[in-house]
């Protein structure tokens, strides 16, 4: 255990915590945008800035200004002094909010941030963009799903989220984790995986069938009628004509992992609305692709992943899946 001071309060925390975690665990709030407890800190939005003084340099004072750092990625350290709301921090956050407004003034989330930070005007004007480049989708895809299907490409103002070469990626399993974690609703499954089948409620579920989804080849092909005389069977061919796309990739299980089932949990836990980023609500119960009110099962799984209480070993477990 180590001791540090946040906003003049003495706080005791585990050494492995970040300043943000330490603050939140003690009821001190620090605004964040690109942070999500389910994935590694990225420290890109720069809203969580705090002013720190390390014990090596002596007591902070007017002659010894601290360093401004991102709380989400700053490790706690014995004797650290943290100010979460100093004038410099406030100025930095307000300007950051003004900068976010440059391309995101139309987004409710950015508007909420701007209000909270006292930002009134956009610092400059850029083409409106729903994406605020928080990188949550990329990290979720890397760390939670393990698919590495999307990435941040280009540089500077041209930076954007895209699959490799900006063409449909074979690595995308259409699990919609990115869609769920996006705090602004910028990312649509159809943008990333336009040609992949959108995960509809599985047919056997619609039929009230509890058994694991069998490969219903004719349905995957979009054929509505029952399989009756399948041509390959007529030919004496036993195997179904085409492996499903996930099988072709060597994926044994149906479209995504169901980690809670492995742990013996029967029903998917309900979405508690923590949402991504903490600020602003994103209506995860509505599918952004088809607009349906309830989520198909794959979506629910992604949702479950995002709401896991994060302990190191559990994360590794999820990653291993």
């Amino acid at each position: 255990m180590i001791h540090l001071t946040i906003d003049n309060r003495d706080i005791e925390v585990r050494q492995t915590m970040t300043v943000l975690e330490a603050a939140r665990a003690n009821g001190i709030s620090i605004p964040t945008l690109c942070y999500h407890e389910a994935v590694a800190p990225y420290a890109a939005c720069r809203l969580c800035m705090v002013e720190i003084n390390t014990p090596r340099g002596g007591k902070p004072g007017p002659d010894r200004p601290g360093r401004i750092v991102a709380a989400c990625a700053q490790p706690c350290e014995q004797g650290l002094t943290v100010q979460t709301n100093s004038p410099r921090v406030q100025a930095a956050r307000r300007v950051t909010a003004e900068l976010l407004m440059a391309s995101g003034e139309h987004l409710p989330l950015v508007q909420a941030i701007a209000r909270a930070m006292g930002a009134e005007h956009a610092a400059t004007t850029l083409p409106p963009n729903d994406c605020i480049l928080c990188g949550l989708c990329v990290r979720a895809c890397d760390e939670l799903v393990g698919a590495h299907a999307i990435s941040l490409v280009e540089r500077g103002l041209d930076k954007k989220i895209a699959p490799p070469f900006e063409i449909t990626s074979a690595a995308c399993i259409a699990c919609a984790t990115c869609v769920l974690i996006c705090p602004t609703g910028a990312i649509m499954l159809k943008d990333i995986a336009p040609s992949l089948p959108h995960p509809q409620p599985l047919a056997h579920e619609a039929r009230g069938d509890k058994s694991p989804p069998q490969p219903l080849a004719h349905e995957a092909r979009g054929v509505k009628s029952p399989p009756q005389p399948l041509s390959h069977e007529a030919r004496g061919d036993k195997s179904p004509p085409q492996p499903l796309s996930h099988e072709a990739r060597g994926d044994k299980s149906p479209p995504q992992l169901l980690p809670y089932e492995e742990r013996g949990v029967k029903s998917p836990p309900s979405f508690v609305g923590k949402g991504a980023g903490g600020l602003g609500s994103h209506d995860a119960r509505t599918c952004r692709v088809c607009g349906e009110a309830t989520l198909p099962r794959v979506f629910a799984d992604a949702e479950y992943l995002l709401n896991l209480p994060i302990e190191r070993d559990q994360k590794a477990e999820v990653q291993a899946l």
Binding site: P41, A44, M49, I68, L99, L133, R139, H148, Q319
Partner: protein, 654 residues
């Protein structure tokens, strides 16, 4: 070159060196030709071809690395006398061989003329440009052929390595620490401390890393780059940062092209001291010659037994690999550079953990600049105390500047830390051409700051520059005279960082654009009241809250010009005036009727058809049509076209 054979121990290396030195006749006439990129651009390769044709048995012809005085290329030096010929053309070779080499007859027209005295100078070391320098790192550039390891060994090369391998790593780090060497990549972090952190980490595993949820070391596009498996190195890595991206800086390039073995030797010493087993040189693709020389040097070092398994019989294994960068400025930042080597997007990540704690593929990693590595053999050879005697109290050794802009002598200059700007610009640089006034020096590239005439006598070292708002940086030094507009200069550098921002964090990605917008507006004559305060507010916020050094230093040119040249900004905004007559939105071209002869030349050549007038009658420029290209002024033989500034322009009137 002698036949390749593995050198098995230090004694063999020493014997090999003696044999090489014996084989070399010190009186042998040698025509050395600069093969640096600057001289090559001036046609050095054609000069070389001609030299090879003319050379007879008595003359050796050798192409060396960059001499630094690139402006005067192609440069030829006749050794051992050191006769310095500049701007040599292929046709001159015949006389050089038959007069100078055969009969010691000096060819006047090829000599360098000292602009201060008008006198001709014969010897290289008498040229004021060189005479006032302290060339510790660049000294061998003009002497040896970088493609031949034997020449480096003959000059004492790899002796420091042999000595180091017999020593304990702890002692080597102690010497580096005592020498006071600080990183030459910009930030000036004490090299010894960095090495110690890594050594301790590898030895005692006591580095406090914490439970870092850093990005998993995987490629985003793993399936495309599946051959990018992290090499098995169970200890740690060292990296030579050769990404040099500052506009106008080329000292690292010049060292790699001219003396690659010194860098390699430094890296092996460093690896041995900290206990790393594998090294990388991260170099930009835009440096083809440096890549070629470095790769060749690595190959030779391996063949000679100086790199690879069991180096010089010491039992120490180490090898170096060259990795090419695609030319993003941000990939010079250490964490972005490592991401790039790992095959991920070149984006910085927050530190801690520092690379020396957790770097490439999660292993402790030392990353140093080219010049930092090249200094290591020198310190071991001549001693830490000798090195610590050069420079100032806290900044030791020499620094290479690339001196460019409005100065007589441009090129690479190596000087001790603590030299004044005045000595650098007026002593070595020969002052400002065309009798103009010195106005400012932009030091440290886009991350640096602009210093004014009042700072000419400040010693240049890490501390004094940072107290003035500039940095030593990579050593870029751009001199500005009265014809340079400081607002425009700030805009130029802001444009550079805005384009090079990686875009990861909000303050740098959008903040640089916001600042650029304001600067652009001011240079276009559309500045507004409050712009300067707004610029300062943005600059402070971007400096405070950016993730990496690029964003944190990006506002420096703006902040320093605002601090030292605020009056010029105010003139732009409130008086519609650009005193350097550079900003097109604030100048008008006018024809002085008394001087105009009505010759029609300007009228005929104006692309915008903005000039009206009749033959033999004074012409008039219509400012509304004028594109400010300046053709009329350039063509007027009667000096009748003048640039006017200061009268409120249209935008101001609104």
């Amino acid at each position: 070159m002698m036949t390749a054979r593995k050198i098995e121990n230090a004694a063999q290396l020493a014997a090999y060196r003696v044999a090489l030195q014996r084989a070399h006749d010190p009186q042998q006439r040698c025509l050395t030709l600069c093969g640096g990129t600057g001289c090559r651009a001036y046609g050095a390769e054609r000069v070389l071809a001609s030299a090879k044709e003319h050379a007879n048995g008595d003359v050796q012809v050798r192409m060396t690395g960059c001499h630094g005085f690139c402006e005067k290329g192609p440069i030829v030096v006749i050794q051992p006398a050191g006769i310095f010929y500049q701007r040599v053309q292929p046709k001159d070779i015949d006389s050089i061989v038959h007069e100078t080499i055969a009969h010691d007859h000096i060819i006047e027209r090829l000599l360098y003329t000292d602009p201060a005295t008008g006198g001709k100078i014969e010897r290289e070391h008498d040229v004021p440009f060189y005479a006032r320098q302290t060339r510790l790192l660049l000294n061998q550039n003009g002497l040896l052929d970088p493609t031949n390891i034997d020449e480096y060994i003959a000059l004492g090369g790899y002796a420091s390595l042999a000595q180091a391998l017999m020593d304990d790593g702890e002692n080597i780090i102690e010497q580096i620490t005592r020498s006071g060497l600080r990183g030459r990549g910009g930030a000036g972090f004490p090299t010894g401390v960095k090495w110690r952190t890594m050594r301790d980490g590898i030895r005692n595993r006591k580095v406090e890393i914490g439970n870092w949820k850093i990005q998993p070391p995987t490629s985003n596009f793993q399936f495309l780059t599946s051959n990018f498996q992290p090499p098995t190195s169970n200890r740690g890595y060292i990296i030579c940062n050769a990404d040099e991206g500052d506009p106008g800086a080329y000292m690292d390039r010049s060292l790699m092209e001219g003396n690659p073995h010194r860098i390699i030797e430094g890296m092996i010493i460093g690896a041995y001291a900290v206990g790393a087993t594998r090294g990388y040189v991260y170099i930009r693709t835009e440096y083809p010659l440096a890549v070629k020389h470095l790769r060749g040097a690595l190959q030779q070092a391996r063949a000679w037994g100086l790199l690879g398994k069991n180096i010089l019989g010491s039992g120490f294994d180490f090898d170096i690999e060259v990795r090419l960068g695609a030319g993003a400025f941000v990939c010079g930042e250490e964490t972005a550079l490592m991401a790039s080597i790992e095959g991920r997007t070149g984006e910085p990540r927050p530190r801690p953990p520092y690379p020396a704690q957790r770097g490439l593929w999660g292993k402790p990693t030392i990353i140093n600049n080219v010049k930092t590595w090249a200094s290591a053999p020198l310190i071991l050879e001549r001693g830490a105390d000798w090195y610590a005697n050069i420079g100032t109290a806290k900044s030791k050794g020499t620094m290479i500047f690339s001196l460019v802009g409005k100065v007589m002598n441009t090129g690479l200059v190596e000087v001790p830390m603590g030299i004044t700007l005045r000595e650098l610009i007026f002593g070595i640089g020969g002052g400002i051409p065309n009798g103009k006034e010195f106005k400012a020096a932009q030091i440290g590239g886009p991350s640096g700051g602009c210093l004014a005439a009042e700072h000419l006598d400040t010693p240049i070292d890490y501390e004094s520059l940072s107290s003035l708002g500039a940095i030593v940086g990579s050593g870029g030094l751009v001199v500005a005279d009265e014809d340079t507009c400081m607002v425009d200069l700030a805009r130029y550098f802001m444009n550079f960082v805005q384009e090079e921002s990686c875009g990861k964090c909000t303050p740098c990605r959008v903040g640089t654009k916001a600042m650029l917008d304001i600067l652009t507006r001011i240079t276009q004559g559309r500045g507004e009241d409050g712009d300067l305060e707004r610029l300062e507010e943005l600059a402070r916020a971007v400096k405070d809250s950016s993730l990496c050094g690029l964003g944190q230093t990006a506002p420096n040119p703006v902040l320093t010009t605002l601090r030292y040249f605020r009056e010029e900004y105010r003139e732009h905004i409130y008086a519609g005036q650009c005193r350097a007559r550079v900003c097109k939105g604030l100048i008008r071209y006018e024809i002085i009727p008394e001087l105009c002869t009505g010759c029609l030349v300007c009228l005929r050549n104006c692309a915008q058809k903005a000039i009206t007038g009749e033959k033999l009658k004074p012409h008039v420029i219509d400012d509304a049509l004028c594109g400010k290209c300046g053709v009329c002024q350039a063509l007027c033989r009667f000096d009748a076209v003048k640039i006017v500034t200061g009268v409120p322009v249209a935008a101001l009137a609104v």
